[in-house]
Amino acid sequence: MEITEEPRGNAKLFRLQGRLDSNTSPALEERLVQAVTNGTRSVVIDFKHLDYISSAGLRVILKTAKALKRENGKLLLCCMQDYVKEVFEIAGFDSLLPILASREEALRQL
């Protein structure tokens, strides 16, 4: 999996590409924990090029959302492929986390 990260004002935009599973989720968790530790309070994760997610990936997303909430920050998700969106829905995470259709919409909500 490839993770790219860019600042957007005070926020951070992460773009994911490939597969987010038990193998690759620790790398993403490290990057997100680091961002929150360094003071980032608003995070957008762009899922456009993510082809696959398992519960290991969902856990990292949920942990990050909780960590940001504790700091009065927020996590926004966007641009999911149908299959990835379906996994969020089956897990019931679509009601816990804001999932936006486009990156522009997500950035507007920051």
Binding site: D21, S22, Y52, S54, R59, V87, I90, A91
Partner: protein, 151 residues
């Protein structure tokens, strides 16, 4: 194209084998003409089961092999997953309180099993000769494009 094909493979109890799991599934999907979406769902179900077996199945460590047998008929994919880890019945897991399905774990480890239950049409478990044998059945939707057609 009719979905017909059998595929057998083994994975070591090493999380890096997840990459091999998806390669094996792609091979079968291509050969048997199984829709890409169906195969992604099967991949996720087997990923969760495999990850679970690795997390809880071998407290003593050592090298083990997890066996997968996939049998694709025209409308139904039957999958048998076998391991020689500690007895664990994911079918009755919902009623249990010990990891990986206890209350505290439900969000964490239990989430994977929740996904498995939602992704397959039928699941049955037996313990035979010191092995966990889990049989899954997944309907193949002929309306979906096959992995090959979808590119």
């Amino acid at each position: 194209m009719k979905a017909v094909g059998r595929h057998f493979f083994e994975l070591k109890n090493d999380i890096r084998e997840l990459a091999a799991l998806s390669r094996h599934l792609e091979t079968l999907a291509d050969r048997a003409g199984i829709p890409g979406r169906t195969m992604l769902e099967v991949n996720l179900a087997l990923d969760e089961l495999f990850t679970n077996i690795l997390s809880y199945g071998f407290p003593q460590g050592g090298e083990h092999r997890i066996r997968f047998l996939l049998d694709a008929g025209p409308e139904m994919l039957t999958i048998v997953v076998e391991d020689d880890g500690v007895p664990f019945d994911p079918v009755s897991c919902a009623a249990a309180t010990t990891p990986p399905c206890g209350l505290e774990e439900r969000r964490v480890g239990g989430l994977g099993l929740h996904l498995v239950r939602k992704l397959v049409d039928d699941m049955s478990y037996r313990r035979t000769a010191g092995r966990n044998v889990l049989t899954l059945r997944k309907r193949i939707d002929p309306q979906e494009p096959t992995a090959r057609e979808a590119g």
